[in-house]
Symmetry: C2
Subunit: 139 residues, 2 copies
DNA sequence: TATTATTAGGGAAAACCTAACTAACTACAG
DNA sequence: CTGTAGTTAGTTAGGTTTTCCCTAATAATA
C-alpha cells in the first residue's frame, strides 16, 4: 500500500510539475522572466474585472491612486496594459490588457489546457470518464 | 466530449488549487507571509545541497559572497537557517536549515502529501490503482 | 600566501505612501 | 442659459522600506 501511495505521489507530482513548467514557459515566451508574483496578481485582478478604472483598482487592491498610476506605468512599459479614455467622461481612464498582458494573467489556465491536450493524446474517452469520476469523488 | 473535457479541466483545476492553497497555508503557519519567490528558491537549493558552505552557495547561485552573507543574515533573522562551523577547517561555515526553514523549502511536497492523505479518505485501494494506471499512461 | 567569510559602502527596482496639482465634470445662483 | 464654485479622476513630486545585487577592503584561519 505504501508503494501504491508513493506511485500516486510521483504521478501527481509529475502532473503538477508539468503544469508549473508550462506556466513558466508561457511567461518566458512573453519575455517577462523577472515579473513578480504581485504583478501577476494585479494582472489577474485587472483581467477578472474586465472594465476597471484607476480609482476602482485602487479600491479593490486597497492601494493609493498614485501607487496604481505607478503600477500601470510599469505595466505600460512592459506592454502588458494600455489606457483607454472613457467616451462619456473625459476624466476616466480604463485599464485594458494587451494580448501579452492577458496571456500572462491567464498563464496558469493556459498551462492547464495544454496539460489536458496532452492527456487527450494518450487517454481515450472511457479513460477520461473514469478519471473524472475518481477525481470528483475526492472533492 | 467538450463537456467531458470541461469537467476534467474543473477537476484538475481543483486539484491544483487545493495543492496551492495548502502550500500557502504552510507558509502562513510558518509566519512568513511576505517571503519572496527567490527566497524560497534559495531555501530549496540549500535543502537540496544538504551540506553547503557560503562559497559553494555563491558558486551554485552565481552570486558574490557578500550577497550570500546578506541573504543568510536575513534567513537567520527569519529563523530559517543557522551557521555551523566546520570542525576540520575553522574558516568554513555550513549553512543549516532550521525546522522552519526546511518546512518552507518543502512546503510544496508537504502540500502534495496532504492532498494525497485527503484522497485516501475517499478513495479505496482499487480506485487508487486505476488512478495511478491512468496517470502513468499519460507520462 | 591563499582561502573563507564579513564589513563597509554602494546601486537599482518594486512597492508602498502623502501632499499638491491639472483637467474635466456637476450643480446651482443669478 | 451661463458662470463659477466645488467635486472627482488621474498625475506629479518627493519620500520610505525592502530585496537583491555589486566591488573593495578586512579579519581569521590554513
Amino acid at each position: 500500500m505504501a508503494e501504491k501511495l508513493d506511485r500516486l505521489l510521483i504521478s501527481l507530482d509529475q502532473l503538477i510539475r508539468i503544469r508549473n513548467e508550462t506556466s513558466h514557459a508561457i511567461l518566458s515566451e512573453c519575455g517577462v522572466p523577472d515579473i513578480t508574483v504581485k504583478q501577476i496578481t494585479y494582472l489577474k485582478t485587472i483581467d477578472e474585472q474586465g472594465e476597471v478604472t484607476f480609482t476602482r483598482l485602487a479600491e479593490i487592491t486597497r492601494n493609493s491612486k498614485p501607487t496604481i498610476t505607478e503600477l500601470i506605468n510599469r505595466f505600460e512599459n512592459m506592454e502588458c496594459v494600455y489606457r483607454e479614455r472613457c467616451p462619456h467622461d473625459g476624466r476616466v481612464l480604463y485599464i485594458r490588457l494587451t494580448d501579452k498582458g492577458r496571456r500572462i494573467a491567464r498563464a496558469d489556465n493556459y498551462a492547464l489546457s495544454r496539460l489536458i491536450e496532452r492527456m487527450m493524446e494518450t487517454l481515450d474517452e472511457d479513460d477520461i470518464d473514469v478519471l473524472v469520476t475518481l477525481l470528483r469523488k475526492v472533492w
